[in-house]
Symmetry: none
Subunit: 245 residues, 2 copies
Amino acid sequence: MTIPRVLVVDDDPELRSMLTQLLQQNGCIALPATGEASIRKHLAAGRIDLILLDVMLGDESGVEICSRLREDQSVPIIMISALSSDKDRMAGYAVGADDYIAKPFNPELLFARIRAVRARSHRTSSLAYRRRKAVFRFAGWTYDSKQNEVLSPEGYLVALSRRETALLQALLANPHIPLTRQEIAAALHVTSDDEAPSDSEGRAVDVLVGRLRAKIEANPKHPEMLRTERGVGYVFAVDVATEEP
Amino acid sequence: MTIPRVLVVDDDPELRSMLTQLLQQNGCIALPATGEASIRKHLAAGRIDLILLDVMLGDESGVEICSRLREDQSVPIIMISALSSDKDRMAGYAVGADDYIAKPFNPELLFARIRAVRARSHRTSSLAYRRRKAVFRFAGWTYDSKQNEVLSPEGYLVALSRRETALLQALLANPHIPLTRQEIAAALHVTSDDEAPSDSEGRAVDVLVGRLRAKIEANPKHPEMLRTERGVGYVFAVDVATEEP
DNA sequence: ACCGATCTGTTACCAAGTGTTACCCGGGCG
DNA sequence: CGCCCGGGTAACACTTGGTAACAGATCGGT
């Protein structure tokens, strides 16, 4: 599982930085945000795995923000509040929160819930957490991760290089979810040791995607499966069926 | 949303029938089960939307059952327990429970959580939150929002850019209603978060309208469909028929 | 260790999309 | 008749992604 990217939404700078630090120390990428506008900016800008949303935000209401976000977003949301009555919890659930934690909270419990929410979203968005080898079928193609072979709809066997294999697996693990170039690069480098985490603003990913397209897209000019999200990254845009061996 | 089918797992007959009744009275189909074997039988037999799983099951442990179910099942699970310590809750989350409720619980809160868990699983199981795709027909033209293609009355295929697509969708959604440039600009920028709605009265919309006209107006000099409302904005001036796929 | 085949990242160039600017036209009005 | 205003649009600039070509890295066989 990749490193979770968590958006911390709180108007109190002290609590915000406390939460941010806590998350960072436990292996998350924590991104601070202050209100709905900045949440939406982050959502538009890149992948967010989870939102930690304080209910009391001074001028804005966390409940209202959650409700509005749910109009078009499915990102997991955990609400945090000093209010712990059943009525308040129900309000949170009613507007689509995935979980509700009362302050003061046990950090361990917070992480347990974060893990639970993330595991659940992985579970539901197919198979990312399954590490066993499997056979994938998509749009007539077959990818056997055990044999590392790709079979075209016409039955031709296509050989993939290591990098191409890793790219395909990353995409298959997240169908319909846009992956940024950074995320793809991270997924490619899990095998060999991470080098400079710097923004090596190279075009390696673009080139790699092009090479994979040349192999598994019937017509690379009109990508059906491996679609480009301009300004964002790439998406595997067809449904994927998984078979356990 | 269809009627939820809930599996009630408890070894205490009294509590089980109490829960079952409570759920039935509130519009659920409640199915009683007593242990892992009977849970799996139900899962194999038909659709189950949610499992209510008591932690204390006499000879079997709810935590262990949950853990084993999670090896191959992604059905939402809410655990119920008399134990409410952080440690116990964490154990529940750790084995993949979607939520954890301590006894005695407020029935309203239980239903709020059931709704939350079900809404979430709808959200994440793709389709539900995916934007509606449809086919629009107007003045002999066809716009397929799924393929993002426009078919002219003569049968020629016209490709639209992203912006042009967004503009056409905004217009199709409001036939015969004049849209101001600000409104159109707002509709175009939903994807990439734009900042201040400041002055910046550029001519981007005008140019974009011109480009769209060049593609879908038979004679751009005499616009029939995409009409200009002088001093106001633009109107889509023909009737639009929508077909759900 | 040597050699060739393959893989992979970088660079450079190209095409497409989009916003801005500048200039044009036409109509309403003095 | 000349002026102004609103809109049309050509031309340009800038950004983003696709990809060919090149060079270094890797790997396997001898």
